[in-house]
Amino acid sequence: MTGYLRRTGQFVVILLLFSAVSAFANWPIYRQIPEGSAVVVLTFVHGADRKAECRTRSPEEIAKLAPNMRRVLDCPRGRRPIYVELDLADKIAGDGHSRVYQRFVVPAGQYEIAVRMRDTPRTEGFDHERKETVTLVREQMFVVDFRSESGEFVFR
């Protein structure tokens, strides 16, 4: 009898441990953003203008190159930094790289979202711009993307 009781006690201890483990496998609930909030994601991959203009190589320069590298135009690979502004009520995302991913948690509601980007040598003004009034519902994931092919911002 003592043996059975002992074995039962052992099983109960193991069962309690496993129950605790199974409970912590999905509890307590974690809330990533406050209730009634939405998420705005600014994300795009866009290559800005080259840092310098392409240059035409002279015939002598071309001759010095390996046969498979002989191209007339010498275009530097480096790209200009991109300058991006996102107006989201009072929120502003500063400048970024050519690969952008940034998340903003905002209370649900109506916003006037404006996004501007400069990707050319100009120092003032913007090359691409979009402004729109949107209503963000709670838990909504609102994405601000940029299509390089058409050169326009996309709101999703």
């Binding site: 307590p28 609930i29 939405a38 991913y101």
Partner: protein
């Protein structure tokens, strides 16, 4: 500082383990089977994973539905298997963390044990990677959260050409090819994990890879019960147009994920990097000051291989004879693996306490604490018992509860260093009325196999045997931890009382002069692990 943390943790483990010892018995105590249970859960996860794969659809459109189907429509087999898969994975994490803390608490990570500790560090990364990739496959809200946070974490590193988190913020960007990649990772990483687990135990002799059958059966039964009572379920289909605002997090696999919100991704990476480096360097913070490794004296070694059989650390191997004597093999010690526990000394047939040669050598010996010195110390300590009411000589492991006893104690690195003939000598020559052999707690032997070998030798199940002529009622084994000194004293006092009631031993021949006053050229041993 590290010593203080270790000491506090050790007290914590003692507080948990000793009651479990009493309930389960030392052989079934789950806390003493953490490594074996880790392997056991790995196999459960592997088998249940293969089973689930039969029902799983790797297409992005069908993944969630296929998991829901197996959970709801086939709950009694596939659903239970899903719970097995998840909870056994979680239990692996519990085993890993507890195992790591316990090895740290008992100082089982420095010296020659650095290898097992160091190779355990990648296991942590591989286990967590295996679990995290598994959560993606369910493709529910939790999967979306895990995918977003993981990809944002990875995007922080300058590795990927474009942010992979972009794939999880709007519909239409993700393809089934991604799911195939995740399935591949969820199969490949656990295979690497198994390889790492195998490397982890390479330097351990007789590693415990399977828990005792009774414990395994109870574990399986408990898993079935929990899987039925609280089955693993999904948290709703992914909707990439919605943020995964609130999720039921697996706090065992994903405890760091909320920290990305609190600290930021860079700080989480810094924490992970610092934690990994610190764990990897711990065996040398500070390094263990070790006694000299065991040495073989070929003139007294007949190549019997008992020492190689008994060594818990694979530090001894038998090699071809090099001195021309007519034995095929000889023992060879690898000093980098030897912890100087002396178990080999206790197993050597040359370690016969009755030998009378003036300069007493044995086949394998500890330079800092030779068998000759042990015998002398035994005789000296026994002489110091004259005048005591009951003359009880204690052979005490320096890691156990008997080491702190004040009188009549012969301290040893491990009780298995005592060849049974030494106990025979003490009792047959009436050096003491009784002998107590005090080691560590039975489920927490510092040198892993010291208690097992001692008991088997005394029971006549393992060479060298304790001779049948030795009166067993004058011999007592006491297995208590260093913190159970009062229990040790209590058991010793009870033993002394019992010995007092036994009729006196018939008069014995006097101790030969060569044993009673043998020269002692060796210095006294500095206990292993005594770091200032």
């Amino acid at each position: 500082m590290i010593g203080v943390i270790r000491s506090v943790l050790r007290r914590g483990f003692e507080w948990i383990e000793r009651p479990l010892d009493r309930l389960f018995g030392p052989a079934l105590n789950p806390v003493a089977q953490l490594g074996a249970l880790g392997f056991f859960f790995y196999w459960i996860v592997a088998v249940s994973g293969i089973y689930l794969f039969i029902f799983f659809d790797t297409g992005i459109e069908r993944a969630y539905e296929s998991v829901e189907n197996l959970t709801n429509n086939h709950w009694y087999h596939a659903g239970v298997m899903r719970s097995f898969h998840r909870y056994a994975s979680d239990l692996m994490v519990v085993m890993l963390v507890t195992h790591l803390l316990r090895e740290f608490a008992y100082d089982h990570y420095r010296g020659t044990r650095w290898f097992s500790w160091f190779t355990g560090v990648p296991i942590i990364w591989l286990l967590y990677t295996s679990g995290i990739t598994g959560y993606w496959l369910v493709w529910d809200k939790l999967a979306q959260y895990v995918a977003l946070v993981t990809s944002e974490l990875l995007d922080w590193l300058p590795i990927f050409g474009e942010p992979i988190a972009r794939n999880f913020v709007s519909t239409g960007t993700l393809t089934s090819r991604f799911f195939s990649l995740m399935v591949f990772m969820h199969v490949a990483v656990p295979l690497f994990l198994l390889s790492a687990m195998w490397i982890h135990i390479l330097h351990i002799s007789r590693p415990k890879m399977n828990p005792p059958r009774t414990l395994a059966a109870m574990t399986l039964l408990a898993l079935i019960a929990v899987s039925i009572w609280n089955p693993a379920v999904s948290q709703g289909h992914v909707d990439l147009a919605k943020a995964p605002v609130a999720v039921g997090l697996d706090w065992l696999f994903l405890p760091l994920y909320p920290l990305t919100d609190l600290w930021g991704n860079g700080a989480v990476w810094a924490f992970l990097g610092a934690f990994t480096v610190m764990l990897g360097l711990m065996p040398w913070l500070p390094p263990l000051r070790r006694a000299k490794a065991a040495e073989v004296d070929l003139a007294h070694c007949n190549g019997c291989a008992r020492c190689a059989e008994d060594c818990p650390y694979e530090a001894i191997r038998m090699v071809r004879r090099s001195d021309g004597l007519h034995f095929p093999t000889e023992a060879q010690v690898n000093p980098s693996l030897c912890v100087s526990c002396g178990i080999c000394v206790g197993s050597c047939p040359s370690s016969t306490a009755f030998r009378r040669s003036q300069e007493f050598k044995t086949g394998i010996d500890l330079p800092d604490f030779s068998f000759q010195r042990l015998r002398e110390l035994t005789v000296e300590t026994a002489e110091s018992l004259h005048g005591e009411k009951e003359r009880i000589l204690v052979f005490a492991c320096e890691h156990g509860g008997g080491a702190g006893h004040l009188t009549g104690v012969v301290p040893l690195p491990c009780v298995a260093m005592i060849p049974p003939s030494l106990i025979d000598l003490v009792l047959s020559k009436k050096l003491a009325d009784g002998v107590a052999v005090a080691g560590c707690a039975e489920s927490a032997c510092f040198n892993r196999l010291g208690i097992a070998w001692t008991e088997q030798r005394f029971a006549g199940e393992r060479d060298p045997y304790l001779r049948t002529r030795v009166p067993r009622n004058r011999l007592k084994t006491i297995w208590v931890s260093a913190l159970e000194t009062s229990r040790f004293e209590h058991e010793l006092a009870a033993f002394a009382e019992r010995v007092a009631a036994i009729p006196e031993i018939p008069s014995a021949l006097p101790l030969p002069q060569t044993i009673a006053s043998a020269p002692s050229p060796e210095p006294k041993r500095m206990p292993e692990g005594s770091v200032p």
